[in-house]
């Protein structure tokens, strides 16, 4: 232990000191999440994993995956849920709010400035052309994410999963039905199928 940690802090962790660092303070949480967020172009999650697991060692990779799995099965922006739960693990509600403020605050200010600029200059021809180009590329990025996520399903020949995926794509993308209505039908069906398949293969 090269750190001169005061003996009064919390209980002795039950993992080797080299594996995990002492829990972060409120200000540290805010700054760390602000940094991950501002580095996160096209999604913050990879940056969050790197910072939390590799850089700060606040969680092991398994703990991170477990927390992420929890936040992924719940609705809402996953990284927002993860940040809030992560902050609360270390510093209770205050930590949760500090981490969330770090994640959302700085980019929020930036986006508001961009929104104000867009409101004033959005009709200028040159800017319209730039935005049109960025939109096209941004759609491409989204398409790539979809195919990356599909890959494991294709590899396991998960025909039922792929059919469900296509059904949702048509219902929401082509028919443009209401999300609530579609999910209220699709979630029970998908859950039932998953349950049966797991029972059969168990």
């Amino acid at each position: 232990m090269t750190l001169d940690s005061p003996p009064a802090t919390a209980a002795v962790p039950d993992v080797p000191a080299s594996d995990r660092q002492p829990p972060p303070g409120v200000m540290t949480l805010f700054v760390a999440f602000a940094k991950m967020s501002l580095a996160g172009f096209g999604g913050v999650l990879p940056f969050a994993r790197r910072a939390i697991v590799d850089q700060h060692r606040w969680m092991t990779a398994d703990e991170f995956n477990e927390t992420f799995a929890l936040c992924h099965f719940l609705p809402g922006p996953n990284i927002v849920n993860l940040t809030f739960v992560f902050g609360s693990r270390f510093r209770g509600i205050v930590g949760a709010v500090a981490a969330l403020a770090g994640l959302i605050g700085p980019p929020l200010v930036l986006v508001m400035i961009l929104a104000a600029l867009y409101a004033h200059y959005g009709e200028i021809a040159a800017l319209r052309r730039v935005l049109a180009g960025i939109s096209c590329a941004a759609v491409g990025l989204l398409v790539a994410v979809v195919f990356r996520m599909m890959l494991p399903m294709v590899k396991r020949r998960d025909v039922v999963g792929l059919l469900l995926m296509v059904a949702i794509f048509i219902a929401i993308g082509v028919l443009q039905l209401s999300l609530q209505a579609v999910l209220l039908v699709a979630i029970p069906i998908s859950l039932a199928i998953t349950f049966v398949v797991r029972r059969l293969s168990a």
């Binding site: 967020s37 996160g40 172009f41 096209g42 927390t67 799995a69 929890l70 099965f73 719940l74 609705p75 809402g76 922006p77 990284i79 809030f84 739960v85 969330l100 994640l103 959302i104 980019p107 930036l110 986006v111 508001m112 867009y118 959005g122 052309r129 730039v130 935005l131 049109a132 180009g133 960025i134 939109s135 096209c136 590329a137 941004a138 759609v139 491409g140 990025l141 989204l142 398409v143 790539a144 994410v145 979809v146 996520m149 399903m153 998960d158 469900l164 995926m165 296509v166 949702i168 794509f169 929401i172 993308g173 443009q176 209401s178 999300l179 609530q180 999910l183 979630i187 859950l191 998953t194």
Partner: protein, 177 residues
């Protein structure tokens, strides 16, 4: 009384409710955002929606910030703030509650089971998102080509997505699209 309904309040209601159905994150909720903001409420035009999507992808931070831009277009600063918090807080508090309920040591099979059941749905939703924005963005053959090249680059390489977006912006400025 619906005609002079406070726009900030309707943003809070819209996105607060939407967040509870946002399976697979903010990018999967884009078709619903489009349906509500463009088709139902007429807050934005189709073109503005594509712009807002482009700006949100270009900015750092969580993808949920597209909601901030929609809120700003509807009701300025307070609209942006209200929409963002409405989209983030309810489910964050829900996640906090569930994580406390399940506890750290719990080995319940349900989270993994529900997650596995939701994966095909959220991929389908993201595909729908791409289709919805493409309908506004990809109006020419060259635009479609740029989208396809961006998709292949992002899929096959580890290139920082920011460079792909900026390259798209340059091509746009040059008048290719």
């Amino acid at each position: 009384m619906n005609a002079n309904e406070n726009p900030v309040w309707s943003l809070v209601l819209t996105f607060g409710l939407m967040s509870l159905f946002a399976v697979g994150g903010a990018n999967a909720a884009i078709p619903e955002m489009h349906r509500v903001a463009v088709d139902l409420r007429h807050w934005l035009t189709d073109k503005q929606f594509a712009d807002v999507f482009a700006i949100s992808q270009l900015s750092p931070g969580p993808n949920v910030l597209i909601v901030t831009l929609i809120g700003y277009a509807v009701a300025g600063f307070w609209g942006a703030l209200a929409a963002t918090l409405a989209m983030c807080l309810p489910t964050a508090v829900l996640a906090y509650g569930v994580s406390r309920l399940l506890g750290r040591s719990s080995r319940s099979p349900w989270p993994a089971m529900i997650q596995a059941a939701l994966v095909p749905l959220s991929i389908g939703l993201m595909g729908a998102s791409a289709l919805i924005v493409a309908q506004a963005a990809d109006r020419t053959f060259l635009a479609v080509l740029v989208t396809l090249v961006a998709a292949v680059l992002a899929f096959a390489t580890r290139l920082n997505p920011l460079w792909i977006l900026l390259a798209g912006g340059c091509l746009g400025l040059a008048g290719v699209i």
